[in-house]
Amino acid sequence: MNFFWQELKYYRRSVVVWSLVLAIILLLFLSVYQSLSSQIDTFREIISRYPRALLAAINLRFEMFYSIYGYFGYILTFVWVAGAIQAMNYGTSVVSKEVSGKTADFLLSKPISRNRMLSEKFAAVFVLLLITNIIFIAVALLGAKLFSSGGFDVKIYILLAVTLFFIQLFFVALGFLFGSVLPKIKTVISITLPTVFVLFIIASFGGILDKPQFYYLTPFKYFDSLYLYQHGTYQYKYLWVLFGFVIICLITSYIIYNRKDINL
């Protein structure tokens, strides 16, 4: 368990900073919800006069924006991006920092298998993400209590908040794969930032990829707050794809890392 504790210790400050960042993003945006909701009523009137087909053309979902879920869903996209960067940073650096920090020879000469080492490292970042998400969900509930005028459905709200964890799971696995496969990574962030942003851009400006059959390509499309709001549950097909992806990433990481010539 030494590796596990060592990694937890290594990232402890980072977890605090990231949790703070996520909480601040959320609270900042939630704090203006009231001025937003006061504008909504007049807006609802105006919009009811427009033909439905036109509204569909610009892909608007008004039902959503009346409620705090809609607004929360909107904020979540920002939180996802930040959280994805955090998760991918952890996944990538937890493996690659031994090479970039020149501690690989020290570590790998210990009488512990590479599999064991990878498992403990992954378990550590998994726990770190769990901590981040517990804090995030607590802050989100608190924020909704403080800033939403009416009541809100705690279950849907929590389901929305938990999407952060799934998104992070995707990116921690992807980062883990990068960290294990690439021979030497000098700066983690120069790999994670572009990856996250490209996937985010695919999701928001899909272009030719903006068709349901391509939604599988980017996790930012896996969770739709409108669907969640209407059905009270996730779209399971995407969830299975996500879990499948995570497992494949992990297995590939183990296989490749075990055979890899570690760069000393």
Binding site: V32, S35, F43, L54, K102, T187, I189, I201, G206, G207
Partner: protein, 267 residues
């Protein structure tokens, strides 16, 4: 000269990667515009104009006429600004602090060159890099808009917006350099500059959503060089351009002073 070339070599891969991301973004960015245009653009603009301000902000179309190509490009412009800022900020912070991070500072600083000339080589190489990315963004934007528009009528307007991108780059590059000059811990500069970019971006979004936060526009560059004002005035704000340049120069000067005096971490 040797250091300058070395820096160019060690940074060209990431430059290629970011350029590819920009081009990719150009390729995928305009498809929604064709949707807007085909669905009776006049009517759409009427609807979007009747949105409350906050909703327009949420859709990234505040003060932009998204039924016109240049207005739509204003949405993309914001993302280019964000990408360019992140690239430049990371570059400025990393190009100096990487010696300490990669434990090459001892090797470098024992050469018979002054710290000032080390910093100058890095500064120059960094400027070359951000200028190349600027060219990639500008060229691809001009070409992208021209392809969608089927002519080059909007070129001068697009180029007018591009100066904003260049100022974003210079601003965050100098800030990155500043933090790398000051802080001994090689991880700190990158972290601080990333937080500054993302933070000022969020402040920009918030300032548009809520009118109470109007004062925020004085402190976030995303507001200084926001697309709607550039499109309206036909050029970027000269006042803020001057402010940006002054702040950047100051940051670089402080970076030189601090870097030549501080302790350098050696392995």
């Amino acid at each position: 000269m040797q250091m300058f070339i070395h820096e160019l070599k060690s940074n060209y891969k990431s430059l290629l990667g970011w350029s590819a991301a920009i081009v990719f973004f150009q390729l995928s960015g305009y498809s929604k515009f064709e949707g807007f245009q085909s669905a009776q653009s006049g009517a759409i603009n009427n609807i979007t104009n009747s949105f409350p301000k906050s909703l327009q902000v949420i859709f990234g179309m505040y003060n932009l006429n998204i039924a016109t190509l240049i207005g739509y490009f204003g949405i993309l412009y914001l993302y280019f600004a964000l990408l360019a800022s992140i690239y430049s900020g990371l570059l400025g912070a990393g190009i100096v602090s990487k010696e300490e991070r990669d434990k090459t500072s001892e090797f470098l600083l024992t050469r018979p060159v002054s710290r000032n000339s080390i910093l100058s080589a890095k500064l120059l190489a960094g400027l070359v890099n951000i200028f190349i990315l600027f060219l990639v963004i500008s060229l691809s934007s001009v070409i992208g808009v021209a392809l969608v528009n089927h002519n080059f009528a909007l070129t001068s307007q697009v180029i007018g917006m591009m100066w904003g991108i260049l100022l974003f780059q210079i601003f965050f590059f100098s800030l990155g350099l500043l933090f790398a000059g000051i802080f001994q811990n090689p991880k700190l500069p990158t972290a601080i500059v990333t937080i500054m970019i993302v933070g000022t971006y969020f402040l920009f979004v918030l300032a548009d959503i809520s009118s109470q936060l109007n004062w925020v526009r004085f402190i976030t560059p995303f507001k200084w060089f926001a697309a709607p004002a550039i499109i309206q005035n036909g050029h970027i704000s000269y006042t803020y351009s001057v402010i940006t340049i002054i702040v950047s120069v100051l940051a670089v000067v402080v970076s030189y002073v601090a870097y030549s005096r501080r302790d350098i971490t050696v392995a």
